[in-house]
Symmetry: C2
Subunit: 111 residues, 2 copies
DNA sequence: TATTTACGTAACCATACGGTTACATATATG
DNA sequence: CATATATGTAACCGTATGGTTACGTAAATA
């Protein structure tokens, strides 16, 4: 269907997809549940979900006939890392603290 | 030429434009200087510059026949603010510190 | 003044995007 | 088994995107 450049930056470029991200950050939903929140056809939602999935922002687990969509927030770190190189421009105080934090052990290590 | 949705998210969706942002974060350049760094025609660069300008990421000052392009990093804060609502998902330690920082006076106040 | 330089702009092109309707398929449920 | 439900997929459509070439124009320079 649609293909080629499928990265996080392109995924969050669309306002509807940003809305979906926000929606799914509250709680995981199946596809129809998502579609109910949007003023567009279900196939259109399906396409957006596919795009979000293809770039790793969404994880889908099939539960019977339902497709359970849950947000993979870790993927947004890519955007955050990209912003990191500019953040010092507008927030020197945070920048200084990030450097400090980089030398600290992670209090919430992931397995 | 091109119109409609012109926001920061759409602007940074294109990898070439992200490259231009990085390039201009080092130092301001005029248009031909930018074009020299890219494997595309000058009008193509001109279009990208126009898009970046239209969404406020670039400021252009005419210096004679040259167009001096300088990055407006403040516009990237929009993306940063959007990310803020998700950052706690992957970085609790930074989140906690941001809250702390919000209560601190800005050591680098802008006039 | 003539010419080079640094751009903008218009017209065009192939393809991507975001949406639709219509239909197919797999799973629950009566 | 028949049917309703949850979803995928295909075909289509108008417009946006990202690029090109060709040409126009204002400012610097010879």
């Amino acid at each position: 269907m649609q293909a080629i450049r499928r990265d996080v930056f392109q995924a969050i470029a669309d306002p509807s997809r940003r809305d979906m991200i926000r929606l799914l950050s509250r709680k995981p939903m199946h596809l129809n549940e998502i579609a109910a929140h949007f003023d567009m056809s279900r196939p259109a939602v399906s396409k957006h979900v596919r795009i979000l999935t293809e770039c790793g922002l969404l994880q889908i687990s099939n539960q019977g006939r339902e497709r359970h969509c849950s947000l993979n927030t870790a993927k947004l770190r890519e955007v955050d890392r990209w912003l990191n190189q500019y953040r010092h421009f507008w927030n020197r105080k945070l920048d200084a603290l990030e450097k400090h934090l980089d030398n600290m052990p992670d209090p919430f290590p992931e397995p």
